[in-house]
């Protein structure tokens, strides 16, 4: 059938965090071009299970591009050869019949491999915990319309807040830098009056935590925004730099 293609997959297999890991090659004879990349992985796993082998472990959940769980490095690009998508939204029509696809986990010192294609991204949570919030508790807040916010700021904050925390930015960055992730959160909150109150503290704490966790230094290559499935802009990094330097100079 013309709607099917056959593929050779080179998949990274690693039993655990301490295992060395290796590539395994698998053949898939019939893959529908209408299936998503992860559905192709399901087909592979079904085949492996039926052969009595262990299926490939990979992270995935919502399969509609919003949870940020899926994290495959496909043919040299995080989330594969399509633009502005997560792996789960990547469809097999982007691949040619007979193609060999290399599938690897995110690779960065900040994201150690847990198993096969699954990495540990707890570092992102730790960074958010260091200051990525407004310090208000439940209840006792003013009416939602008490402070007008310009539509432009609200929209820009929304664009920054659309980060899904998948880690593609770190995965593609030659420096293993998490600046796009950190800057998206700092920007989101710095653009809103509610977040302004502790903007300085937030920028300092989050950058300090990012550095402490071993992420690299941003050299403004811009690869992160190209690979970001949500198109978060590196203008946010400029804003983070501004917020951070302002905060430090005021100390």
């Amino acid at each position: 059938m013309e709607n099917n293609i056959s593929l050779t997959l080179k998949v990274w297999r690693q039993n655990g965090p301490k295992d060395k890991g290796r590539f395994e090659t698998y053949k898939l004879e019939t893959v529908s071009v209408d299936s998503s990349f992860l559905e192709m992985m399901d087909v592979l796993n079904e085949q492996l299970i039926n052969e009595g082998k262990e299926p490939v472990a990979f992270d995935h959940d919502c399969r509609e591009g919003i949870c940020g769980m899926c994290s495959l490095y496909i043919n040299g690009r995080p989330h594969g050869p399509d633009d502005d998508v997560t792996t789960c939204q990547l469809h097999m029509r982007k691949f040619k019949d007979g193609e060999t696809i290399t599938i690897e986990p995110w690779r960065s010192a900040g994201f150690p491999v847990i198993k096969d294609l699954i990495v540990n991204r707890n570092a992102f949570d730790t960074i958010i915990a260091s200051g990525g919030y407004t310090s208000i508790s439940t209840g006792g807040v003013p009416d939602a319309n008490a402070i007008p916010i310009s539509k432009i700021d609200a929209d820009e904050a929304m664009d920054a807040a659309s980060c899904i925390g998948c880690g593609a930015c770190v995965a593609t960055c030659k420096n293993g830098s998490a600046m796009l992730f950190v800057s998206a959160k700092v920007s989101h909150l710095a653009l809103l009056p509610q977040g302004q109150v502790e903007a300085a503290r937030r920028a300092k704490n989050m950058v300090a935590k990012m550095d402490e966790l071993g992420f690299g230094n941003c050299t403004n290559t811009g690869a992160c925004e190209v690979e970001c499935p949500k198109g978060v802009s590196i203008s946010n990094i400029a804003r983070l730099n501004r917020e951070f330097l302002k905060a430090k100079l005021a100390d």
Binding site: D59, M69, V85, Q89, A154
Partner: protein, 645 residues
């Protein structure tokens, strides 16, 4: 089993105030001595855990994902309702309450729904203070849009990513408490049992999904905020990991499971297109604000489209059947979800469906694009259109979208009283996991409202009323017999699964279950089919326990083992859903029994016989469960045939 709904005295609008005025509280010094376990980090779980932490309780919060931010609340697109009445279009707490009870086809508990409407405004205030970037007007004030089942615009939204933004707000509040040390977060950890001590829920047995090791955790109270069980159908709009296991564990420990058959079928999902399909993608209900739903008016046109000989854009206006506008002129394309879904099925069953399978209808933006311009439509729905294009490879700006109903949300769930406590003392359920607020059908943009209401504004009060009697209960160490036994039992279950060593993958059995569910317990149900379903599900259960193949071992990460243990619970849920659907001899909301419909094909309730919540009590492995009734009385709302014409 005794089911006491504990509805406070007084008139409807004062019940919640009365409750709060008279409930027991825990003083700050005692809060430090009390531990609360919260299972799940979605809107309900994260907001509850964060709020408990802020109040000074010690919280343990569990999620199966790698981060709390991945919970499936994140995928909600359209918006969140509140009775703010900012647009000055006649909204009020009473109207939101009334719409919700009516939208739920009069199968929800009035007092709970009224409280939900009351706290709805606080949620918006809270979220804005957290920095949730809701859509705004140029004047700087919040924007609203309309949603199905309402004649006012009361839905707040953040592009097409409202759930994401609300969840991130709650997640950030949660991470603030993690940083403060009040909440211990356990990621990639699944609850496999609930520990009972002296008839009360006192902890959980958890399994670390990375190491495969079991853990014992004590809590003075346990809150389940584990979402719905729609994945029993295999294909649904739920995330792959969404499951009903914690709910089933609660049920097996004595918590009643209420109205399991009430599952919502969402009308606007991308149609099924192949056997390999793993999930269904929802297109937000908000699209119905500007999209018009139609099928060809002539059967031969529909046939030509299915054969690929005709394009939808080639069908003239007069040859299109805008069936929702035709049947329901007052609400048109904005009828509630159950009504829209059934109408789509009716047209497709009658042979007017489109797409290669004939199981699809069109959602057309042509007239809106002509009226408002493509840019305005792009600003409103750009991300949804892009998502559609990536999946289907069709440009919805040029050709109509194809949609079909799919399983989306489960209104049924663990039975809770007014305090959100289950029939097991000390065990609470919040969000989609409980049954309380949506009756037989949930209105759009109400799930987010309920999740956050439960977590931010209900449980922080009601749980104190329970914990106030527990301030002198010392922490348990986990070495108690009850904990050890529960862990051994859970371990044995996993060992049993590993020992089957059959021939079939977990997914292949899950798909088989899903097909039975969709065919017999889906959009249209009947007695004969449901009886068949119960039998088929029993066979699937046998097949599962004798023939499932789980590669690898119980040590370390084993994804197939996780899936198998969840499927075992889905099979039990499927059985319960079929039994409940068989018992409920009426049509209401998402539950449509073919025997009970009007001549025009509208749902026909049997209020004299079924104005109750059906609460199922577990009676033991392979024994039929027992049904108890919680009678629903309506003090304020006038029960009537729902009319959206």
């Amino acid at each position: 089993m005794k089911l006491d709904s504990k509805i406070p005295q007084g008139e409807m609008a004062k019940k919640w105030s009365n409750y709060k005025a008279n409930q027991k509280l825990v003083n700050p010094a005692n809060k430090r001595k009390l531990d609360i376990i919260v299972v799940g980090t979605g809107l309900a779980g994260a907001s509850a855990a964060a709020s408990f932490g802020e109040m000074g309780f010690n919280v343990k919060n569990f999620t199966i994902q790698d981060s709390p931010r991945r919970a499936h609340s994140i995928a909600a697109q359209g918006g969140i309702n509140a009775a703010k009445n900012y647009p000055n279009d006649g909204d009020s707490v009473h109207r939101l309450f009334y719409d919700t009870v009516k939208g739920g086809d009069y199968r929800a508990r009035e007092a709970n729904v009224h409280r939900l409407a009351e706290v709805s405004n606080d949620i918006i205030d809270q979220c804005v203070a957290q920095g949730v970037p809701f859509a705004r007007e140029y004047g700087g004030l919040l924007d609203n849009r309309s949603f199905g089942g309402a004649q006012v615009s009361r839905t707040f939204y953040a592009k097409g990513q409202t759930g994401q933004q609300l969840l991130i707000g709650a997640y950030q509040a949660l991470m603030r408490q993690v940083n403060a040390g009040t909440v211990d977060l356990y990621t990639r950890t699944e609850i496999v049992d609930i520990v009972m001590v002296d008839g009360k829920a006192r902890g959980v047995i958890a399994r670390d999904l990375v190491t495969g090791k079991f853990q014992r955790h004590f809590g003075h109270a346990v809150v389940l905020a584990t979402g719905g069980y729609g994945n029993a159908f295999f294909l649904s709009t739920n995330a792959m990991g969404s499951n009903g296991s914690a709910a089933i564990k609660a049920y097996q420990k004595g918590a009643a499971f209420a109205n399991p058959c009430f599952a919502q079928i969402h009308p606007t999902c991308i149609p099924v297109h192949g056997e390999f399909q793993s999930k269904l993608t929802l297109m937000s209900e908000s699209l119905r604000n500007d999209g018009r739903i139609w099928v060809p008016a002539k059967k031969e046109d529909a046939e030509a489209i299915r054969a690929g000989k005709l394009k939808p854009t080639e069908i003239a206006e007069e040859n299109r059947d805008y069936y929702l506008e035709r049947r329901y002129p007052a609400f048109g394309n904005l009828v509630p979800r159950d009504v829209a879904s059934r109408a789509a099925k009716e047209r497709c069953d009658a042979g007017f469906g489109v797409g290669t399978t004939g199981l699809a209808v069109y959602l057309d933006f042509k007239s809106s694009i002509e009226r408002l311009g493509e840019d305005a439509i792009r600003a409103r729905y750009g991300n949804l259109f892009q998502m559609y294009e990536k999946i289907v490879d069709d440009n919805p700006y040029e050709t109509p979208m194809m949609i079909y109903p799919a399983i989306h949300y489960t209104m049924g769930g663990i039975w809770v009283d007014y305090e959100l406590q289950t029939s097991v003392p000390g065990l609470f359920a919040a969000g989609e996991a409980n049954f309380s607020d949506h009756g037989a059908n949930r209105l759009g943009a109400s799930a987010l409202m309920q999740g956050l209401a439960d977590g931010y504004f209900v449980l922080p009060y009601t749980i104190q009323n329970y914990l106030a009697d527990d301030i002198s209960t010392p922490r348990m160490t986990g070495e108690e017999k009850e904990f050890v036994d529960a862990e051994n039992e859970a371990k044995a279950k996993f060992e049993k699964l590993m020992a089957i060593k059959g021939e079939r993958s977990v997914d292949s059995i899950h798909k088989e279950l899903g097909l039975v569910m969709w065919d017999f317990v889906g959009m249209a149900r009947n007695k004969e089919g449901l009886e068949q379903a119960i039998e088929k599900i029993a066979n699937i259960k046998k097949e599962f326990y004798s023939n499932v193949r789980i590669p690898g071992s119980g040590e370390g990460m084993n994804v197939e083992l996780e899936k198998a243990s969840r499927l075992a619970d889905f099979i039990d849920i499927g059985d319960l859903m079929a039994r409940d659907a068989l018992n409920r001899e009426e049509s209401c909301g998402g539950h449509f029994r073919e025997e009970y419909q009007t001549e025009e094909g509208e749902a026909m309730r049997q209020d004299d016989k079924f104005a109750y919540a059906a609460c199922w009590e577990y009676k033991g492995e392979d024994k039929a469960p027992e049904m108890h009734k919680e009678d629903l009385t309506f003090e304020v709302v006038k029960v009537a045939q729902r009319n959206y014409k």
